[in-house]
């Protein structure tokens, strides 16, 4: 393959958004007259429907895109993504893991936002379990993490969770605030 055509291909492939002919000319320091026939060639090399992806002309530029016929299948990529957590779920899970048994109100106090929805999701996913009721007015439920939680994170027990000390040992900022035990590791 012609070196210049190879570069054009690589540029279009790697760019975040469709690349226009003008942009390609600027990037490669070449004239439109030189590049246009090469793009024509690429368009016929990657026509629609032949492969899993094609070279599309879109938004005044060029971009490789998946074949629309494959779309129903590609949707599965998203659904099958293993264990993805939103930032909210992650925070909530972290608080419960380290502070269990803990009530919803306490979680919300720490996060500063309503956490009922997130906790419900985590319960539905089997990552939390109810540990009983707290002996305070209103007797709110106390939550903790489940066995499934341990499995998911490859922990033998909750003791395997990294401790604050281990964290501060890695984080120089925290290290100043927390005295380090030099015998702590090794």
């Amino acid at each position: 393959m012609n070196e210049l055509r190879k570069l054009i291909e690589a540029f279009i492939f790697a760019a975040e958004s469709p690349l226009s002919l003008d942009r390609l000319c600027a990037l490669l320091e070449r004239s439109r007259a030189e590049l246009r026939p090469m793009i024509e060639q690429l368009l016929s090399d990657y026509p629609p429907s032949r492969r899993g992806f094609y070279l599309a002309e879109v938004a005044g530029g060029y971009q490789f895109r998946t074949d629309p016929e494959c779309a129903p299948w590609l949707r599965k990529l998203n659904r099958e993504r293993p264990f993805r957590f939103s930032q909210a779920a992650l925070e909530t899970l972290a608080i419960i893991a380290y502070r269990q048994p803990i009530t919803r109100a306490e979680v919300e106090y720490l996060r500063g936002v309503d956490s009922g929805g997130v906790m419900k999701t985590l319960l539905d996913k089997g990552l939390l379990r109810i540990l009983g009721k707290k002996d305070v007015p209103g007797r709110p439920l106390m939550y903790g993490t489940s066995r499934h939680f341990l499995e998911l994170f490859g922990l033998r027990s909750l003791e395997d969770l990294p401790t604050l000390k281990e964290f501060s040992a890695l984080d120089p900022e925290l290290a100043e605030a927390v005295p380090l035990d030099p015998q702590g590791e090794g």
Partner: protein, 253 residues
């Protein structure tokens, strides 16, 4: 021999030592301790003159070098059992060789085609796989712990403990006990406590009763030796309110 050293270029004492050994063209298995120690100390001295913060590791290595050198300078022992004594340099050589391996491995890693530096992947994400994907992260145990410690850092620790420990105020419990004895009721010590008191509650209720007895507001009597203890207000409820139970008066926080 004067050696120009830019200290910032050295990753640690092992790195510096390796450099000295190489520039002197020494055999790593037969390090000339006197020479190396001298040069190493000269570098440390240079650091001091430049007023650089010398990391503890560099000083520790200086001490190790001096120690090895002195052991080598000692006359060989005459006792035969010392014949097989290990070369004092052995441990250092092992560490240098091992370190050198990883230094080379690091250089090899650096030469590998790196994503976003030497190779790139396509950025196009088909619309059909975008749904629900926003703002999500794949996590491991580190990310979990990291999330928690971030929260801990953001929440002032005192406030945090207040939520978890729920410190109980003696003044509050003094009021609770007074309320229970309202109208001149005579109650057993046990009844004064809430139904399933926590440890802290028991202690605080007890302290509250002691306070009230001390202030002569409550009378205590016991009919038999191990029998129930009975409590009764010694003043009228109205008087009790007038006393104005302020925590500061009670001396508790």
């Amino acid at each position: 021999m004067v050696i120009e050293i830019h200290l910032a270029n050295f990753d640690g004492p092992l790195d510096l030592l390796l450099h000295l050994i190489k520039t002197n063209e020494m055999d790593i298995y037969d390090i000339q301790m006197v020479e190396i120690t001298e040069q190493y100390l000269a570098v440390i001295e240079q650091m001091k003159q430049l007023d650089l913060d010398i990391a503890g590791e560099f000083l520790l290595m200086a001490a190790t070098l001096i120690h090895i050198k002195s052991r080598l300078l000692l006359p060989a022992c005459e006792e035969p059992e010392d014949e097989e004594e290990e070369d004092p340099r052995a441990e250092l050589v092992r560490r240098l060789l091992e370190y050198q391996r990883y230094k080379e491995a690091a250089e090899a890693l650096e030469r590998l085609p790196q994503l976003e530096r030497d190779v790139f992947i396509n950025q196009f994400v088909p619309a059909e796989i975008l749904e629900d994907a926003d703002d999500e992260v794949t996590i491991g145990i580190y990310q979990l712990a990291e999330a928690f410690h971030r929260i801990l850092r953001d929440v002032p620790s005192e406030v945090f403990h207040e939520v978890i420990r729920e410190p109980l105020s003696v003044a509050e419990y003094v009021q609770i006990v007074i309320d229970k004895l309202a109208g001149g009721a005579r109650r057993s010590f046990r009844e004064v406590f809430s139904e399933q008191p926590s440890r802290a509650e028991v202690i605080v209720t007890f302290l509250a009763v002691l306070e009230l007895v001390k202030m002569r507001m409550v009378k205590v009597d016991q009919a038999s030796e191990h029998g129930d203890i009975w409590l009764q207000m010694a003043v009228s409820s109205a008087d009790a309110k007038e006393i104005g139970l302020v925590e500061a008066v009670l001396g508790y926080e």
